[in-house]
Symmetry: C2
Subunit: 192 residues, 2 copies
């Protein structure tokens, strides 16, 4: 986990993505020094999120399909989770990510609505938003705020998004970097 190596991270967004979950993941991972590409699964770079905030993505998803990412991190929100699920490019990319042993992650509705629907939870424990977590096949860790199981990380909602993002920083760069990023953000007390 050399922090001198530049890490590349994909954050896909679509109509109805939860903007807090997207932005917290993008911002926190950029604070760690990673190159984060925000990619729209829609036909336009401009995406209207779940509470009406309009964000301009860096790329269309098709334009980054050939790139290799150290992490694919999917925000939640509805219908955002369905928009991500229904994007065949993102599905291919995430299955390849899983098959090649690199990190992939989802929060809120997306573990249940996208990842489980496409077999990406198979053999993995995880969690999802309380309104969706009862649909997960493996219920053993659904009460946890963040679950890391192998190369899959899942989490529950906007209120767990900082913990989710900092867990991803820790997995990419190590605990020391995660602490460095957490400090100036004035995090609430929790176990990193």
């Amino acid at each position: 986990m050399s922090s001198s190596v530049n890490k590349h991270v994909l954050v896909p967004i679509g109509e109805g993505t939860e903007e807090m979950e997207a932005i917290i993941v993008i911002d926190v991972i950029r604070r760690a020094g990673a190159q984060v590409i925000v990619a729209s699964v829609e036909n336009s770079l401009q995406v209207k999120c779940s509470r009406g905030v309009n964000i301009i993505a860096d790329s269309l998803i098709a334009d980054v399909e050939s790139q290799q990412f150290d992490l694919i991190a999917c925000p939640g929100g509805m219908p955002g989770a369905e928009r991500l699920r229904d994007c065949e490019t993102l599905e291919r990319m995430t299955i390849k990510q899983r098959d090649e042993g690199r990190l992939y992650a989802a929060i809120c509705a997306t573990p249940a609505v996208f990842f489980q629907a496409k077999g990406l939870m198979d053999g993995h424990r995880g969690t999802s938003h309380p309104a969706f977590s009862d649909k997960l096949v493996d219920q053993s860790l659904v009460q946890e705020r963040v679950v890391v199981d192998g190369n899959l990380t899942t989490s529950r909602g906007p209120g767990t998004a900082f913990e989710f993002a900092l867990s991803l920083v820790k997995q990419l760069y190590g605990a020391e970097k995660a602490q460095q990023v957490a400090g100036p953000m004035v995090m609430y007390p929790y176990e990193l």
Copy 2:
């Protein structure tokens, strides 16, 4: 604090605004049912935030100056806090807001960089980001994560932004509404 009355909230943003602080405040307060206007203090609606996320504001600040808001809530980030401070329209609006006894609020660098510089902290206790809070004249509550003093609310950084936003919901709509909004977000444990 009748929740049947529609509340109007202004969230100003500028180049280098901390996107997590802006989006958390906008999103959480919209979840409570308020009409939130995101207003750019720049010449364009599209604003590049502190970690490179491009957000499209709803209005230019000049176009909403004549409107009355129940709350003006200012995000932090640098140089975002300076961009808000240097906007004369926003300065006039916030001074009027204070003088007429309505709610105004700032987080992160903004209490020190904007509010104190323009006299908006005078006679008020508050806090600011740890890198700026030693500059506040009144040091009595700077260690607090959120300070409500009269109609002024201040807070410290991205990691306190949910608490800040939910405190504003509580002040606008009451504690019950704040609890209703907090629940589905899967908040970390803290005293609302």
